[in-house]
């Protein structure tokens, strides 16, 4: 029964909007899930990133060395260390966010950047593997903030990279639906689910996200919804159904423009047709 270990990278949304939901339950669910992942298989490993409207930061493995930490309760020592590392990282982030003058109402969390960093971490671990065996890995994204289309391009880049790396991106959204992340889960072969209340979060995580993709196929799951594959136009970042596309770089514009801002190609639009009078003789 040799099972390959799995590297799970969690990207946790720490936007100040979290205050509207129960932050305590949310964080408890995150840490509990991380612990369960590590406990399930001795070869499993973990990486945790947090993102708010200002920055994204690596919580575990932490950069500052841990001193000799002793067991404080009946929990496995290593799991206790994970808990404390996450706590320290979050505290630093919260203090930094509090000190910054930027308003948080309009902005959204820098999840796409955190996802990119997570993918880089996976790649780095792969190259460090002694025996060049493919490291099984997956990315889990937890989101609570509302969505604007401003990070559309970065998201799509991250999804396509993950697809290339055969890393499924699982998404769990708390509060409202998020079409962009749903697209990501669909493209990479992960699972998408929306949770209404934070109190249901741990249950959903355990039921649907704990096992790897191979085992997931063996358990009954709710049927997937149709995915909203609308693209966001590059000029206004709004989701559109019909749009004009640059033939050179495939950037999407809601109405026809004479100049493509991404690749600087000039388009000829609405010009009258020139009659080739020479031919007629």
């Amino acid at each position: 029964m040799t099972e390959e270990g799995c590297l799970l990278v969690m990207v946790v949304d720490m936007h100040p909007q979290l205050a509207e939901h129960d932050a305590h339950t949310y964080l408890n669910a995150v840490v509990a899930f991380a612990n369960l992942h590590l406990a399930a298989n001795v070869r499993n490993s973990l990486g945790v990133l947090a993102a708010n409207h200002l920055e994204s930061r690596f919580l575990y493995p932490s950069c500052d060395g841990d001193g000799v930490e002793r067991q404080r309760d009946g929990r496995l020592e290593m799991l206790g260390q994970v808990d404390r590392a996450i706590e320290r990282g979050l505290k630093t982030m919260a203090v930094a966010a509090g000190a910054s003058p930027m308003h948080s109402e309009q902005s959204e969390s820098l999840l796409s950047g955190a996802m990119g960093r997570g993918l880089l971490y996976i790649k780095r671990r792969e190259t460090e593997e002694v025996l060049t065996k493919k490291l099984q890995s997956r990315l889990l994204v937890l989101k609570i903030s509302s969505d604007t289309g401003s990070q559309y391009l970065t998201y799509i880049n991250a999804y396509l990279t993950a697809q290339k790396m055969s890393t499924p991106v699982d998404v769990c959204v708390v509060g409202g639906e998020c079409g962009l992340l749903q697209q990501g889960a669909d493209i990479t072969g992960g699972t998408y689910h929306c949770v209404r209340q934070v109190t249901e979060l741990l249950q959903t995580l355990l039921l649907m996200y704990h096992c790897g993709p191979a085992t997931r196929r063996k358990m009954n799951a709710p049927p997937p919804d149709t995915v909203d594959y609308r693209a966001a136009c590059f000029c206004h970042r709004t989701l559109v159904d019909m749009a004009s596309v640059c033939s050179n770089c495939l950037s999407v514009y809601c109405k026809a423009v004479p100049l493509c801002t991404t690749c600087n190609v000039i388009f000829q639009t609405d010009r009258p047709l020139v009659r080739l009078s020479k031919k007629k003789k």
Binding site: A39, V42, R75, M78
Partner: protein, 463 residues
């Protein structure tokens, strides 16, 4: 029946299933045990436990059945259902959950509350710390990881060295280690009282990887524990606690009674822990003790030392080592051709492999030994052991297996087809029929099955 037996080693599940229910219940009273058991379960069983982890009441069987996916494009749902059944069966066998009847009288499943509570403590916190090291101050004689690795390998290799050459160096290993080796059937006394000889099982043991060796050895040791007057539950619980320690940290010996101290002393002799002196009050687990319960599955989590074999497609093997033990291990199935200051040249030939095969070692064991100990450079090739060499070793094994011998008794010249059918059906339902031909009306049964067939036939004749 004919020929030497293959060495089999139980994994954690099989070992626990062999214990009595009472012992299992007492074992599950500790978080470390529950976590160790949880880790070794198959993935589906783990998922089942997690789903019921926070549920206190019994859950109807119908609900469990609804977890099997109903229909799917292209996949065989029958296989998945079989896996689900297997998963639930494992949990029943290990007494982790039981079948009960719920209030409506339907069949339900209840997760054992001791198991549930202790698993929750081990993963999510709460309860009391079981390493009791919170009050330990820093060690004036701190040992680092390299020292511990070296110590562990030295001690373990002395046990292996003893196996390879039991005649000399008998003082090098402790009496307990020797006792365990005898009990495990790895050595046997031959004729004179002092001389020990390695057995075929011993050869197979030598070629296993270190993690499997340590697990096998500890299992056999645990089988002798009750004879020595120690409690199996206490030793097992301590072993599980040990397997979850962190390398390089010291742990306190506070609160350990005499039994456990003896056990700790034995573990020190085998190289699983390092103890500077008994009075120092702290010990260091070594790499051999970590995750010991993973046994064969531990695989390549930690690689304490790198391999040093280069295997070429012309059947030559170059070993960059001067360790006597390694060279003796190689000599089991290779012909050593030359020795240099830093290297040994050997070659794999039909006669050398046959020598090993005659001792009961299998081709698969030889190939896995080569794989484990090969130089990191070899990993860059597509197959670590060249395909020609691996296939040839397997072919040499197969040529010994061309004939299959079974002792038996032949029946022929039946009067009627009816008699023949009657007897052959009876024999096959008892599982003793090994050959039958209806046209010639001949059949063969095993030697052991013959008496019962004879009595059956006599009864039939009497009618």
């Amino acid at each position: 029946m004919y020929g030497p037996q293959t060495l089999t080693c139980k994994n954690l599940q099989e070992y626990l299933k062999s214990l009595s229910r009472d012992i299992l219940d007492r074992l599950y009273n500790h978080p470390a045990t529950c976590l160790a058991v949880f880790r070794e379960l198959p993935a589906l069983s783990r998922q089942f436990i997690l789903r019921l982890l926070f549920v206190n009441k019994p859950v109807a069987q119908v609900l469990l059945a609804s977890w099997i996916p109903q229909h799917d494009a292209g996949r065989d749902v029958g296989d998945i259902a079989a896996e689900h059944r297997q998963g639930t069966q494992v949990l029943l066998d290990m007494c982790i959950w039981q079948e009960v009847k719920d209030q409506q009288g339907n069949m339900a499943i209840r997760l054992s509350s001791t198991f549930r509570e202790n698993l929750k403590v081990a993963i999510l916190g709460g309860g009391r710390p079981w390493t009791m090291s919170a009050t330990l101050d820093s060690d004036p004689h701190q040992r680092n990881v390299e020292f511990l690795d070296k110590y562990a390998m030295d001690r373990w290799e002395s046990v292996l060295q003893f196996l390879v050459q039991p005649g000399r160096g008998q003082k090098a290993i402790s009496r307990d280690a020797m006792r365990t080796l005898l009990h495990a059937g790895l050595i046997e006394s031959s004729g004179e009282s002092d001389n020990m000889q390695i057995t075929s099982a011993g050869f197979q043991f030598l070629l296993l990887d270190t993690a499997s060796q340590v697990w096998f050895f500890i299992l056999k040791y645990l089988e002798t524990v009750t004879e020595r007057g120690m409690s199996l539950v206490a030793c097992l619980t301590f072993l599980f606690k040990l397997s979850f320690s962190t390398l390089g940290k010291d742990y306190s010996m506070e609160g350990m009674d005499n039994e456990l101290l003896t056990f700790l002393q034995h573990l020190r002799e085998f190289g699983l822990v390092y103890l500077r002196k008994r009075s120092s009050g702290r010990f260091y687990p070594t790499r051999l003790a970590l995750n010991i319960t993973a046994g064969q599955n531990k695989g390549i989590i930690d690689v304490p030392k790198q391999g040093n074999l280069i295997i070429e497609t012309n059947y030559r093997v170059y070993a960059y080592t001067t360790s006597e033990l390694q060279i003796s291990l190689l000599a089991i199935f290779c012909d050593i051709e030359g020795r240099f200051p830093n290297m040994v040249v050997a070659s794999i030939s039909r006669s050398s492999v046959r020598r090993a095969l005659l001792k009961g070692i299998g081709a698969e064991q030889i190939i896995s030994f080569l794989k484990q100990h090969c130089h990191p450079q070899m990993y860059k090739l597509s197959s670590v052991v060249p395909r020609t060499v691996a296939d040839q070793i397997k072919l040499w094994e197969m040529e010994r297996e061309r004939l299959e011998f079974t002792e038996g008794v032949l029946y022929k010249d039946f009067m009627s087809l009816h008699d023949f059918n009657l007897l052959s059906n009876y024999a096959s339902s008892n599982g003793v029929l090994i050959y039958s031909d209806e046209r010639q009306r001949t059949m063969v049964v095993t030697k052991k099955g013959h008496p019962s067939i004879k009595t059956f036939w006599k009864e039939e004749q009497a009618k």
